[in-house]
């Protein structure tokens, strides 16, 4: 059944991909365009990148984002890995229920999470800061890591753990000497996924960010509302390079952990 695609299929696929990529390619190209926006192509320049690097608020947003997404990722991986290993090791009543409960934050619209957390922080008199952003991000990133690590654990042959025990490992050593080393790819790919989700979030962050804690996404959103600026093109291009690189690493890690478990 798998044969060469017909010309109509090829045409459709090409059109689809061109439309998908044209806006992005154009944005990248315009970041090197030596003209204020909306004026067509007028030569190559790195001017916007220089301006971007000089902009204090952009720099601050980058630092904020690294702090927020970094902390959220680390916390999410740790909490998610702990829970995933607990799920793998122990049986108890209501396990399935708890399992589906853990996934709910990923399907609930990000914006609802934002407004409800805002209300919670308000009633608890917690002032909005980087901490509140991190709390919010961990809430929806943790299930992503949990899921990633659980999938890896499900594919993991239980007799390998028994073999470790048989050869003299205590329960704790089974985890540290056998499970964890084999979970590294899943934790990394889960972490990267969490990092990208955290980095790109606007809908939740919008509500829970303190006035001084503008993340990168919030910064871009603010600039976008004001209209188009070539420096934003430059910033976008840099971000695209970063996320695509992270994405490719993530894909490779995932493939590797799948190949390993087979």
């Amino acid at each position: 059944m798998k044969r060469k695609l017909g010309p109509a299929s090829v045409f459709y696929v090409l059109l689809f991909l061109i439309l998908l990529y044209a806006p992005i390619v154009m944005m990248v190209a315009y970041s090197f365009n030596n003209s204020e926006l909306d004026m067509g192509w007028s030569g190559f320049t790195l001017r916007w990148y220089r301006e971007l690097f000089a902009a204090e608020d952009a720099k601050k947003a980058v630092i904020n984002s690294i702090i927020v997404s970094g902390c959220s990722t680390v916390l999410s991986v740790i909490l998610g890995a702990f829970a995933a290993i607990g799920f793998h090791k122990f049986d108890f009543k209501g396990k399935d229920l708890l399992d589906s409960f853990f996934y709910i934050p990923t399907i609930v619209p990000a914006m609802l999470l934002g407004v409800s957390l805002l209300s919670l922080f308000d009633i608890l008199h917690i002032s909005l800061s980087k901490v509140t952003i991190i709390i919010s991000h961990v809430t929806f990133c943790m299930p992503i890591c949990f899921n990633n690590i659980r999938v890896a654990l499900n594919g993991f042959d239980r007799s390998i753990e028994e073999a470790a025990q048989d050869l003299g490992c205590t329960q704790l050593q089974v985890i540290t000497k056998v499970l964890l080393p084999n979970l590294v790819p899943a934790m990394l790919s889960g972490g990267l996924l969490a990092f990208t989700f955290s980095l790109e979030d606007v809908l939740t962050t919008f509500f829970v960010a303190g006035p001084k804690d503008t993340t990168l996404s919030m910064y871009i959103f603010g600039q976008m509302k004001a209209g188009m600026k070539p420096t934003i093109n430059a910033l976008s291009t840099l971000l695209i390079v970063v996320t695509v690189t992270l994405g490719i690493i993530m894909q490779i890690l995932q493939n590797r952990s799948i190949a390993k478990s087979k």
Binding site: M1, K2, K4, L5, S9, V13, F16, L17, L20, P23, I24, M26, M27, L37, D38, M39, G40, L79, F82, F87, K89, F90, F92, L98, F101, F102, P105, V108, P109, A110, M111, L112, L113, V115, S116, L117, L118, S119, L120, I135, S136, T139, M142, F146, L199, E200, V202, L203, F207, S217, I220, F221, M224, I232, S236, L239, I240, T243, V244, G247
Partner: protein, 291 residues
């Protein structure tokens, strides 16, 4: 007797360890997910004073306000928009996912990565790219003028059309992925059996392939419809603030308008809509999964 004791002891140890490992995540989820949601439901049944402070006494004011024509209009418009976007996304994504599933393994992975890469890129950036793309001097206007279809650049950005375009554009991968993974799983032998029993290509698609791909469509449906209702920054950035959807409305109640009970009530309404949608999706998926 002794043995019994040993056993209960061991069981306690297991429960303790289970709590140590799973407890932190469970506590976190309860504290920062369950509590806030319960609280927001409570807030929706409160009212507010003239300074925007919440008055903690039972009231249906917020829900009564919702039945005003203005709000009903916004809800109606949002649902209509999300529905149209979902249909458009499905129509555009289906052929792509179908062609992917038919291609050789190598081409398949290339085509899928082709959809995945834009998905990795921050959705804000993609919207920003669309702003560029649809602006007066953007690629679309240049293309249309180059083809001689229009003489003057037309206004695309800051219209409802641009909002639709942005929503469809950014939600496409959400439909391609579940559809593809569903179509790809169809056993080629089933298609050959269909052929063997006398199906034409058209019949094969309508009677075999399409019914088998319904779980994929349902999976994509939720991933497209729900974000389409909320994504206020697409409406803001591409619609120029002229297109108001539920997302904008909620966001403004919690920020500028300072009417939290109303925002909470709106949230509860969309939460219900999303829940119903997910419920229906799960029902159909369950009924349609044949493995």
């Amino acid at each position: 007797m002794d043995k019994e004791k040993g056993k209960t002891k061991r069981k306690k140890g297991v429960l303790g360890n289970a709590f140590l490992t799973i407890g932190p995540m469970a506590l976190w989820t309860v504290l920062f997910f369950v509590f806030p949601f319960i609280y927001i439901i409570l807030v929706s049944f409160c009212s507010r004073d003239q300074f925007g402070n919440i008055v903690y006494s039972f009231s249906l004011d917020a829900y009564k306000t919702l039945t005003k024509a203005v709000y009903l209009q916004v809800i109606g418009r949002t649902l209509k928009m999300a529905a149209i976007v979902t249909v458009l996304v499905t129509l555009i994504a289906y052929p792509y996912a179908y062609i992917c599933s038919k291609a050789s393994k190598k081409v398949q992975s290339l085509l899928i990565i082709g959809v995945m890469i834009p998905f990795w890129i921050n959705s804000l950036l993609r919207i920003y790219a669309i702003m560029n793309f649809t602006s007066k001097n953007g690629l679309i206007n240049n293309f249309l003028m180059g083809m001689g279809i229009i003489k003057e650049p037309i206004q695309i950005l800051y219209t409802t059309g641009a909002v639709y375009f942005g929503l469809v554009y950014s939600l496409l991968p959400m439909m391609v992925m579940p559809l593809y993974s569903c179509l790809e799983k169809i056993d080629p032998a089933v298609l050959e059996a269909g052929r063997d029993l006398g199906c034409s290509s058209r019949q094969l698609f309508l009677k075999v392939i399409f019914p088998l791909s319904i779980p994929g469509i349902m999976g994509g449906l939720v991933l497209v419809f729900v974000p389409a209702m909320f994504n206020f920054y697409i409406a803001d950035a591409l619609g120029g603030g002229k297109t108001i959807i539920i997302g904008n409305l909620i966001s403004s109640q919690f920020s500028t308008a300072k009417n939290w009970p109303l925002g909470a009530a709106l949230s509860v309404v969309v939460m219900l809509i999303s829940t119903v949608l997910i419920f229906v999706k799960n029902k159909i998926e369950k009924a349609r999964t044949y493995s």
